[in-house]
């Protein structure tokens, strides 16, 4: 291992054993009675959490590990921390490690925060004297001055985590392992943590960060590693890896949504619905009533009804790439492609569409009658495209109504909430739709670059040598 390498993981696999058979009996006595003690100690199922993973982190670099739940991120961190041993392969770490895996692990509820800080510090590898030296700094960092002598059981979960974080970060490690712990406090505390990380980076410490916060990986890490089902799926430039990861997540969501839609349609087709049932469609002659009825409409769950004199055979969402899909980005182009079949020519028809968010609020609804298209005839296999130039919706999942009915509301084929699409957005704005907008300021108004965390001025704190 080169002297400039902080973490070296080579060809590591971690296989967890599952003792489902033994767990069934779960006792020594039964194991002895059935004389199956030895047999039962053998695993009958194994689970490979990490599969032939190799990576090196040079000193002073920050590596972000991303991946879906169960992809092996935390296992990797535990292996690097030395808490578990690899089944095969080797892990080498140069320098003192501090692992922010579970904050305040080992706090004893009955004794005071002060005593717990000492014990926790010693547990993490400090000497008593070192803890004494850093004690005030720790307490100040955790913002716990007035509670430090109260027993830990009286702390709120936030206080608990803050104190745990403060101790762990003041161990002054060469290698810092962080597992999804930044959600421990209010905005201010999170900033403080980020400042502390920035300080670590400046002081050329190595950080291994496991997180679901992709933004954090992009702006904070020098390198990213993408784990999927225990294997490395990609590593390198954070922007590139995060991009690839997001694409993959969307593809999976796509598959899920497609499956959901197919299920919904199967159920709807199976249900027998009388064609005479009044359509609660986007009623052509009374659009005001439609708006007030949406609450009831959503409760009416998904379904399909109508006389089928005209039948909706297929509905697709088509993106700018002309591919049918279910996941779109806010502001993208999206076409709703509706295929219909009218075995006999029909002259009284209205094609309508409604978009609903998960709360059941109608984000938008319209039909050809409202938009003053006068029907003349529909016959044979036809296709209607409802083209949305820019999908100005906020992030979320949306369900769609598609219907063809008479002008008076008599339904030919009504598809109630049978189609789902998802809108992705980097911005976490709120509301029902996103008007096209921008900000302008006059006068002396400035913003710092949000992509870079606030770096503390040297005068703010004295960095240890």
């Amino acid at each position: 291992m080169a002297s400039s390498t902080a973490i070296e993981v080579s060809r590591v696999s971690k296989i967890y054993r599952r003792f489902s058979h033994r767990k069934q009996f779960a006792t020594l006595k039964s194991a002895l009675l059935t004389r199956s003690l030895i047999k039962n100690l053998r695993p009958d199922e194994t689970f490979t959490a990490l599969n032939d993973v190799s990576l090196t982190v040079p000193k002073g670099r920050t590596l972000g590990v991303i991946g879906r739940n169960g992809s092996g991120k935390s296992t990797l961190l535990k292996l690097v921390a030395g808490i578990t041993k690899p089944s095969t392969g080797t892990v080498k770490v140069d320098g003192r490690i501090s692992a922010l895996i579970e904050l305040g692990a080992g706090f004893h509820p009955e004794i005071s925060g002060r005593e717990n800080v000492f014990i926790n510090g010693i547990m993490l590898g400090l000497t008593k004297r070192e803890v004494t030296q850093r004690f005030d700094e720790i307490v100040e960092f955790a913002e716990m001055k007035e509670f430090i002598d109260a027993p830990v059981k009286t702390y709120s979960s936030g206080m608990y985590m803050r104190l745990g974080f403060a101790v762990a970060i003041h161990v002054d490690p060469e290698v810092l392992l962080v597992d999804e712990v930044l959600a421990v406090g209010d905005e201010g505390f999170t900033h403080k943590c980020l400042d502390k990380f920035a300080e670590f980076k400046r002081r050329n410490k190595t950080i291994l960060l496991v997180t679901h916060s992709l933004a954090m990986v992009e702006r904070f890490c020098d390198e990213a590693l993408w784990l999927d089902a225990g294997r490395i799926k990609g590593s390198g430039d954070p922007k590139r890896i995060v991009g690839a990861y997001i694409t993959d997540v969307e593809r999976r969501e796509e598959q899920e949504l497609a499956a959901t839609d197919a299920r919904a349609r199967d159920t709807a087709d199976a249900a027998i619905v009388s064609p005479d049932e009044p359509a609660s469609a986007v009623l052509p002659d009374n659009p005001v009533e439609t708006a007030t009825a949406t609450g009831d409409m959503f409760r009416a769950a998904e379904g399909r009804w109508g006389s089928r004199e005209v039948e909706i055979t297929d509905v697709d969402f088509v993106g700018a790439d002309a591919e049918a899909g279910h996941v779109f980005h806010s502001g993208d182009r999206m076409d709703v492609r509706i295929r219909m079949r009218a075995p006999l020519p029909i002259d009284d028809f209205v094609v309508g569409i409604g978009i609903f968010n998960t709360e059941g609020t109608c984000c938008y609804g319209t039909n050809t009658y409202i938009e003053e298209l006068t029907p003349e005839s529909i016959h044979g296999d036809v296709e209607a495209v409802f083209a949305i130039e820019a999908l100005d919706l906020i992030e979320g999942t949306y369900k769609v109504d598609v219907a063809i009915h008479k002008v008076d509301g008599y339904p030919y084929d009504y598809h109630r909430l049978l189609y789902t699409f998802r809108v992705k957005s980097r911005a976490k704005d709120v509301g029902i739709y996103r008007p096209r907008h921008s900000w302008r300021f006059l006068g002396d108004v400035r913003f710092s670059d949000p992509r870079h965390p606030r770096v503390p001025r040297p005068s703010d704190r004295d960095p240890r040598p």
């Binding site: 006792t27 808490i83 578990t84 692992a99 080992g106 009955e110 014990i119 547990m123």
Partner: protein, 267 residues
């Protein structure tokens, strides 16, 4: 194994503060605090005295003048032993958070348990000493010098048991329940409430079984040093037990070390 064992002294400070924490946490919130460590054995001793002096004097062993005190001499080390094992059997599971989330040598937990219970034993000793002096027990300096040795042998023996128990309980949870029954049996198989030296003729046949019980020799040693007249005759057996305990400890540590990697996954 020896590598891990050699690392242990580095954790002295941690063991020290964890033992202190155990003791503090136990009495935290109670008004009398540490005094309970004195009061508990004192009450026990007073009750025994009352019962065997006034209620059922016939139950006391003939030939032993101060039966309650005799019983107390054996009971204190037994309490240390029994509560150490009971706590140790659950200590890796209750300390699972540490093992799973902190880089932490797991054997520290049973060591802390046994040590904390030893401190309790020490805290009860002043009561014992006061009564021994009050009843003019035949204490001699030579014998008292052997006392720390007996404690040391018991510590090693108890620690070895605790290591094995704590490691196995991770895999077989019902050891905890088995243990409480075994301890009851073990208690009566140890000459604590009866005297090895004053057993009736009819029970002599049991002596050879009692000899197989390691704790017999510990208790007899305590009794000879603190209670009985005459020379410390059990020292040979104690010496054998001491050496056996050291071997037992290494075996126990080896078992613990072998199972170590499974702890983080099983607890």
């Amino acid at each position: 194994m020896f590598h891990n064992l050699a690392q242990l002294p580095r954790y002295r400070a941690l063991i020290q503060s964890l033992v202190a924490r155990e003791l503090k946490a136990r009495y935290r919130g109670s008004v009398l605090g540490f005094f309970w460590s004195f009061i508990n054995p004192l009450t026990l001793l007073l009750i025994y005295t009352f019962v065997f002096k006034y209620v059922m004097p016939a139950a006391a062993i003939k030939g032993i003048d101060n039966y309650p005190l005799f019983m107390f001499v054996g009971l204190l080390p037994w309490t240390w032993f029994a509560s150490s094992l009971t706590e140790a059997s659950g200590v890796l599971i209750s300390g699972g958070n540490l093992i799973k989330k902190v880089l932490f040598p797991a054997e520290i937990l049973p060591i802390v348990t046994v040590t904390a219970n030893m401190v309790h034993f020490f805290l009860a000793l002043p009561i014992l000493v006061v009564f021994l002096i009050y009843y003019k027990a035949p204490l001699t300096v030579g014998e008292l010098l052997c006392f720390p040795l007996v404690v040391l042998v018991q510590f090693i023996f108890t620690l070895a048991c605790a290591l094995i128990l704590s490691a196995l309980t991770v895999h077989f949870r019902d050891i905890k329940d088995i243990l409480s029954n075994v301890l009851t049996l073990w208690f009566f198989a140890t000459p604590i409430i009866y005297s090895y030296l004053h057993m009736p003729e009819t029970a002599q046949a049991f002596k050879k079984y009692l000899d197989l019980n390691p704790f017999t020799h510990l208790v007899i040693s305590y009794q000879e040093i603190l209670f009985f007249d005459g020379p410390f005759g059990a020292w040979k057996k104690l010496a054998v037990l001491g050496m056996a305990s050291v071997l037992f400890f290494f075996t126990a540590y080896w078992i613990f070390d072998r199972l170590r990697d499974s702890f983080a996954e099983e607890v």
